[in-house]
Amino acid sequence: MRSVVRIGVALGLGLALTFPSSAGTRQFTLGEILSETKAVVHGVVVDQFSQWEEYDGHKIVFTYSTVRVQAADFRGISPSRQVVVRTVGGKVGDYQQVLVDEASFRLGEEVIVFLGVEDGWLHPSVVGFRQGKYGVARDGSGRILGVRQDAGQQLEPAQGEVAPLIPLARFLEDMRRTRRNLAEGDTSDVHPLVPVR
């Protein structure tokens, strides 16, 4: 519970800045992700379904994952105890579609997710695709060890690696630092240099 409070405090981001959409087949900085984020949510995936949807006579699978909110900072999305996140791809029957790099959720997963609003989408999307979603790792006693950026379950590193665990303290400090940077108009996600007196 204490960890939830700490994350909740960290999610209280003073985001008033918006920037043009940044480009994509690349690594987003946390600053770029935060600049497009309308809500940061910490919660557990409690429901999920996938379905076919049509556009211009063509069919694409979309997946809807319901996240029960434990802590959140709602800035451009109405506050709610649950949010439904829309992602491209999913499995219907025996057929599966995968949008390479899209965030992926599984039932029961504890996540921190950066949500945005897309024109024409009725539900929030994940900002920066898989880079805007983190899984929360806990130890046997329930204490949060850290977070791990979503690998996007469609990707398989040849070395069998998984995304590195980011200690909770470092993740929270990154959030605070990025918030300060954004307040000063800096989305480059740089670390401050400190004068040596």
């Binding site: 690349r26 790099d101 379950q153 040849a158 480059s188 740089v190 670390h191």
Partner: protein
């Protein structure tokens, strides 16, 4: 279930490549276009149809259509199999129709803040084809869509300002459509990152990846084992606006050229008027880290920038001849 698939796939690759370490990755679960191995069905050559309207921001004779077709065909030269063919279409179809289409301006509204995306489809219980010890399922459909928010160019056009190389992006997306995931090697075309005005082409790591999928008996073609970390690059810039009068950027790589994530980097700036600043931070997933010198803290106009320490795994070899220049001298704006 997913963990098991990932593990099995990783074991498959490891069994082929022995102790070699590549950065390339396969899509997971592993999928490919079948090539008739063992008398099974063959999907080759895979036909990709480029929307004939093209990308209007590409200022060439056909809005980048030929450039995209040539970019897809780049993969053909990497394998002995007759891998791909290309054509044009008036369709913008993104979906499960069995026709592989390259479309522009994001007709399905799924690209969002990416440069381009690839959507692949398959049956989860399809038959399998085994290549190099890896069991692949069968692709049924692969469509690629480019952003409606960004502008694109080609290397032949020459000048570039804020646009993305449509050939590099197209070859990258076609790599996904053929079964490749993202590579951990920064110089690879299949690396997850590409910046505007960067003209990348297929690299050795990409070659190893595509041949792992489509060349039975492929031996790897030379691998690398990570044994030490190095300072991959050290540079600085003077942003013309914003709160930073100087930004120092560094990368940490291993001896195979892969970025080292989570490496703690310490830098020190010594100004020409005697002021000293320091900073320490960890590299991101690509092995990069940046430090900002706020204008309010900049007492000097010129600074000597020194990386004084890197704590990384594998350990930093500060004496390695492959190191980037360290220190460097930088000016503020």
């Amino acid at each position: 279930m997913n963990k098991k698939l990932v593990l099995l796939g990783a074991l498959g690759v490891a069994s082929v490549l022995g102790t070699s370490v590549f950065g390339f990755a396969l899509l997971s679960p592993a999928r490919k276009w079948f090539q008739g191995i063992g008398g099974g069905p063959s999907d080759l050559p895979v036909t990709f149809l480029v929307n004939s309207a093209g990308e209007e921001s590409v200022n060439d004779s056909d809005n980048g259509v030929t450039a995209c077709r040539n970019a897809i065909a780049e993969w053909e030269g990497e394998v002995s199999a007759n891998l791909v063919s290309t054509g044009t279409t008036s369709s913008n179809a993104v979906g499960n129709d069995g026709v592989n289409v390259v479309s522009f301006n994001d007709p399905a509204n799924i690209v969002r803040n990416a440069i381009a995306v690839t959507l692949v489809g398959f049956y989860t219980s399809s038959q399998t084809e085994v290549v190099n010890g890896i069991s692949f399922g069968r692709f049924l459909d692969a469509d690629m869509s480019f952003s409606k928010r960004l502008t694109f160019t080609t290397q032949a056009i020459g000048s570039c300002s804020g646009s993305y190389d449509i050939e590099a992006v197209q070859t990258h997306e076609a790599g996904h459509a053929l079964g490749l995931g993202h590579s951990g090697v920064a110089s690879a075309l299949m690396a997850p990152s590409i910046s505007a005005c960067t003209f990348k082409r297929i690299a050795a790591d990409d070659h190893a990846g595509i041949n792992t999928i489509y060349t039975p008996g492929f031996g790897g073609g030379g691998g690398c084992t990570a044994t030490e970390s190095r300072l991959g690059s050290l540079s600085c810039s003077a942003p013309s606006s914003g709160p930073n009068c100087m930004v120092v950027s560094a990368t940490v790589v291993d001896n195979c050229g892969n970025g080292v994530s989570g490496a703690s980097v310490t830098v020190q700036l010594s100004g020409n008027t005697g002021d000293v600043l320091t900073g320490s931070a960890s590299t991101n997933g690509s092995g990069a880290v940046s430090f900002g010198l706020r204008c309010r803290d900049a007492a000097s106009t010129t600074y000597t920038v020194t990386v004084t320490g890197i704590s990384a795994s594998p350990a930093w070899d500060s004496n390695d001849a492959g190191n980037a220049p360290n220190p460097i001298v930088c000016n503020t704006r």
